[in-house]
């Protein structure tokens, strides 16, 4: 995390992302790539809490769900606009995160995890039973993909998978870039200091609770955008998006890739969705495979896949052979 991301690596990654639809040439995989982009944003947003501030949230699905429902309710019932939908998704989650955060950031450790879990389950219960608004456990169908552009001048339809992919890529890239800027700002450094030693930061005279609250709101807002994108991407949402196992999955993505690396969670999101997709081709029991990988990872590679890889690379390049020899 302290390392500045390799410019070369980021260029390659971005190039691959831009060329992906040309490379895969297949609607199914373009959709998988789109989903991976959205999940990457979601995982990176959660990492603001886990990796940067050291707060393990077990309720992050609440933003995925609330963002998704906000987008769906606005575009279906009020005004079918992509931008308005996304803004409402982000804004509603910012407000929700603000409200929840005021209570959550005062707790730490397991209590923080439990309170976030409890809040998200409240929202889940409301979405599940408030049939008139959310459609209850049937969820909501037919969420539109409104066209974008300037009214009267030009418009771009997002119905084609490729167009939609590029639209999501631009939004996600901009938001991730923003997140990266925040993470590397003095504000982001303070968050890392809080993770390492909150008492000390308090002694310096910085308002730890307020910093945590901002981190909470940033994570929630970014998660809300991911929820809005997911809503229009799938065209169908259900309360399952808000269930605690969904939150667990987002944590899993974050750790799978590596929480101490900025792009690690995105990598984890890609891994998880790819593994699920691959396993589902053979059998429906993808959870056994993912759970097994998770167990092995926690036991033998706790830095996450990309995190461990980066550490290995930097040992090779910075420490030369010394690092390796002392290890072996």
């Amino acid at each position: 995390m302290e390392r500045i991301p390799n410019r070369f690596g980021v260029t390659v990654l971005l190039g691959l992302a831009v060329l992906a639809p040309v490379l895969v040439q297949n609607d199914y995989y373009i959709q998988l790539c789109t989903e991976i982009l959205i999940a990457s944003l979601l995982a990176i947003s959660l990492n603001f809490l886990i990796g940067y501030t050291g707060l393990v949230s077990l309720g992050h699905a609440v933003y995925l769900g609330v963002g998704a429902y906000a987008f769906a309710l606005l575009t279906k019932n009020v005004y079918p606009s992509m931008w308005a939908g996304l803004i409402v998704a982000g804004a509603s989650c910012a407000l929700l995160a603000w409200f929840m955060g005021v209570f959550c950031v005062r707790l730490a450790g397991l209590y923080f995890a439990m309170l976030t879990l409890a809040f998200s389950q409240v929202v889940y219960t409301v979405a599940y039973y408030w049939r008139d608004v959310t459609g209850g456990d049937d969820g909501m169908l037919g969420i539109p993909k409104p066209e974008i552009g300037i009214p009267g001048a030009f418009s771009i339809s997002l119905e084609s998978f490729t167009n939609f992919y590029y639209f999501v890529l631009i939004i996600v890239a901009v938001l991730i870039f923003l997140a990266w800027k925040i993470a590397n700002s003095p504000f982001g450094r303070v968050l890392q200091a809080i993770r390492e030693n909150p008492e000390r930061v308090e002694f310096i005279g910085l308002p730890v609770h307020r910093y945590k609250l901002f981190a909470f709101i940033i994570a929630g807002t970014l998660g809300g955008f991911a929820g809005g994108l997911y809503s229009t991407f799938q065209g169908y949402i259900s309360p399952d998006l808000l269930y605690w196992t969904q939150s667990g999955e987002i944590v899993l993505m974050t750790i799978l890739g590596g929480m101490y690396s900025f792009l690690g969670p995105a990598f984890g999101a890609g891994m998880l969705l790819f593994i699920r997709d691959t396993v589902l081709n053979f059998m429906e029991y993808w959870r056994i495979v993912v759970g097994g990988i998770l167990v092995l990872l926690v036991l033998f590679l706790p830095g996450g896949i990309l995190g461990s890889f980066e550490g290995w690379i930097s040992r090779l390049s910075i420490g030369g052979n010394d690092g390796d020899e002392t290890r072996s």
Partner: protein, 293 residues
């Protein structure tokens, strides 16, 4: 008026029966939190395993199926728990707590799919054991005997647990480990073995809960991840590490659900959260909690 009283009495007893099952799961969960400092997300899976094992046992047409299952299934699950603790959790104690959380989440995923793989996706129903069939009638009021059996078993197991914790050597070690496991280690006690024992005991209790609940609920994959949320709430209300708190919390939740349903049909759970959120916010250690985690 007569009818009304018997209706509320039924609700009360239903709430109590559900509370006893919840208590079995939450008591293990809370002891694990107090002693090991582990929030075991897979605890609900042990409950699920217990229910599915008793289902398999009920297929055997021998009348003693329930008792054989009641005896063997929790031992199987406890053995399973022992393996998880000894080989997977133990290496993680020195590290950040996040990792134990993730590990148990990984086992939740594995066990959920394992159950699907072995028993299939469809709902199962477990018959009520022959001894407890039928209803007990007093005047106009009648109530299923099996539910009364559960209501009786709960406090019995509670006393049994209390006895283990307060009157046996193992219990003394558990309490010592929850206060200061390092000191216990320094005194020459094999703390690892105590931890394994606690984990196995928790798994044993949770699967017992699953067995007792099976005849009164439908047995399905996913029942584990559902019950764990309610058990957490019980633990939060009662206070992490407090075994008495788990009992009080379970009864409270059982009652709230039983009577909440009458007031607001679908929003019974909202009552529960309305209770939990202020407790977590104002008194995060719960009503009876003293242990620091």
């Amino acid at each position: 008026m007569e009818l009304d009283v018997s209706f509320w009495l039924t609700q009360f007893l239903n709430g109590l029966a559900n509370a006893m099952v919840l208590f079995l799961i939450a008591s293990g969960l809370t002891i694990l939190l107090g002693v090991l400092g582990v929030l075991n997300l897979a605890h609900g899976s042990f409950y699920m395993l217990g229910a599915f094992l008793i289902f398999s046992s009920s297929i055997i047409k021998n009348p003693s199926w329930f008792w054989v299952g009641l005896l063997l299934a929790p031992l199987v699950v406890a053995g399973f728990g022992t393996i998880i603790e000894a080989f997977c959790l133990r290496p993680l104690y020195g590290r950040e707590r996040l990792y134990t959380l993730l590990l148990t989440y990984g086992f939740t995923l594995i066990l959920d799919d394992l159950v699907l793989l072995i028993w299939g996706r469809d709902y199962k129903s477990v018959p009520i054991p022959a001894l407890f069939e039928g209803r007990l009638s007093i005047g106009d009021f009648s109530y299923p005997v099996y539910f009364l059996f559960i209501i009786a078993v709960g406090p019995l197991l509670g006393v049994f647990l209390w006895f283990i914790l307060n009157r046996t050597n193992f219990g003394k070690l558990i309490r010592a480990a929850s206060t200061d496991s390092e000191m216990l280690d320094a005194l020459g006690v094999n703390v690892n073995r105590v931890f394994t024992g606690v984990f196995a005991l928790g798994a044993w209790l949770a699967s017992l809960g699953g067995i007792l609940a099976a005849p009164m609920r439908s047995v399905e994959p996913g029942m584990g991840v559902e019950i764990i949320i309610e058990s957490f709430i019980v633990v939060i209300i009662g206070g992490m590490g407090s075994y008495l708190g788990a009992f009080v919390g379970a009864v409270l939740i059982g009652m709230l659900k039983a009577f909440g349903i009458e007031i607001l049909e679908n929003f019974a759970m909202i009552f529960i959260y309305a209770l939990v959120l202020p407790i977590l916010i104002l008194r995060p250690r719960g009503l009876f909690g003293e242990t620091t985690i």
